[in-house]
Symmetry: C2
Amino acid sequence: MKLSEMGEDRFLAELRERIPDPSSHVTLGIGDDAAGLAIPHGESALVSTDVLVEGVHFTRQTLPPRFIGRKAVAVNASDIAAMGGRPVGILVALSVNVETEEDEVLELIDGVVTRCSELTIDFVGGNLSASPGPMMVSVSILGTSLEGNMLTRAGARSGDAIYVSGKLGAAAEGLDLLQEGMAVSAAGALLVPSGLRDGPVPLAEICLRAHMDPEPRIDLGQFLCKNGAASSCIDTSDGLVRDLIRLCRESRVGGRIEETALPIHPAVLAWERLRRRPPLEQALSGGEDYELLFTSSDEKILETWRDSENTPLTRIGTVTEASEGVRLVLREGTERELTTGGWDHFQTWKSPR
Amino acid sequence: MKLSEMGEDRFLAELRERIPDPSSHVTLGIGDDAAGLAIPHGESALVSTDVLVEGVHFTRQTLPPRFIGRKAVAVNASDIAAMGGRPVGILVALSVNVETEEDEVLELIDGVVTRCSELTIDFVGGNLSASPGPMMVSVSILGTSLEGNMLTRAGARSGDAIYVSGKLGAAAEGLDLLQEGMAVSAAGALLVPSGLRDGPVPLAEICLRAHMDPEPRIDLGQFLCKNGAASSCIDTSDGLVRDLIRLCRESRVGGRIEETALPIHPAVLAWERLRRRPPLEQALSGGEDYELLFTSSDEKILETWRDSENTPLTRIGTVTEASEGVRLVLREGTERELTTGGWDHFQTWKSPR
């Protein structure tokens, strides 16, 4: 059934049935003009919003509806993670073409519901409207954080070490593979077009997963915040370079990172070797890794994370004075000034990724 | 300059310059992964989201950019008003075509900033993305409300009186006039096409203003909530009938409203007389009045509002048992069952309003 035949009220009733009972944080759940959430005494409410636009942030070919829903939750949760906060509640505003099949939208909603439940976030409200254009999923997230104890972009000091969590470039590699025709079937099987069968196929699925279903670093953000281990933090949504420049700008510092220190994902190394491209670009500008990029003056505390958790932390460089700019030391020892070569929604949108 | 020439980071820098310093509620303002807002001890955070889509909720012809921004703030604040809450902070996610002129977007942002300032709401964050389709303005609002003291849709009891604030139908009439070519110039002058010059022109501007620049009933919502004067409440965004049906459904009651009691706006009466249409439809299904529709078992308390404020309250009917449905008593004494004849985003989108 198409949404135009169904009507908004009936659709919203269907939707509410899919949303589980709220947690004790929720003082008023879905179905009213606003939702109510309890914020513990002394904590701040953290709010953030992020929009996924069809044709810009995803296409139907590269991201099935369930993953659109899952990813919309994860990228918003990542913003709260980058503040050291705990995500609590989510609101989803969907704009869809009236010709869209109801099933497709319900699948997207199922993705939102499941991902919320995995991350113990309450789905507290939403909004549905018709659109003459592409699908848009606008998510707002509410979290909590200890007051005066937020990780911001603004606290880096010259001499601090620069760290990044996880491995870099897999999400961008995944998008390339999807655009070249690789896919995951509804049943979960990897579909590999003939042109890609000679590649390191077992490593491809990791890349697809990284693009389609990112993992927000919520535990790490809270660890860094609680222990005062990070002086500043940002999540790498638009690529390492672009987000490092943003962090440095807010902190009024410079930064120097080392090519040889970058934790490029092994799957990126393998696939880029096949493509005869240097893997550095995917790692620097690929974007959508949703790792935490942070600075620290206390590496001792970081050891306790490194030893006990499975999200690796890698020291990739050092904070410098603002006058030195943001620089990359290449393998051969030369330096290159880094500019916002990451993903710019406006300047590069003509080749949507 | 077009946005595509400008790039996202430079645009965001321009934008931040326009946003005034945050109030004391704001623990972390614009420019980070999330914003931080203090919620007083014992109060709940209220969150809501609403999206305005070009071609569905507005067109460039009927709503200049400054008013798109103003309206996006007001309709979200109205959701908090309907809960009896105090709006505190706002996040704006804009999706715009890269061919859009920078000035147009900055004008929209100025509208947001000005309206926020008028309503003492902090503009705490935003997000900008390119869109291959129509413009979309997605606003999320955060408010506060005394815990256990929210106005919800669910508390109406059989026997309660049904009230609505303000006058009905002016926003819908305003949209009709705009679609017929009436306009407000940048300098604020009313532009009247020849076909409409015989109408009651002085009353037209009120209607245009009602559509373009609605007034959320924040003070009234707080009055109703603090004094326990309302048993349930909703704002009339999608038309009186549709929102009354929603309120009755959530409260598991029925309702009976009287045609002769409806406070139809005098401007609607005048213009609809000219059009030889009964004015009832604009009042019942017009939508976008953003008045408060509420129920009360304590009319004594309401007298104290009526006497001291300039937003009139009108008793339009009575809450009944659920089995009686939602009904309208017509002028001649007959009754008509009301169904969701209000604005349905999916079933009626082909004639966007």
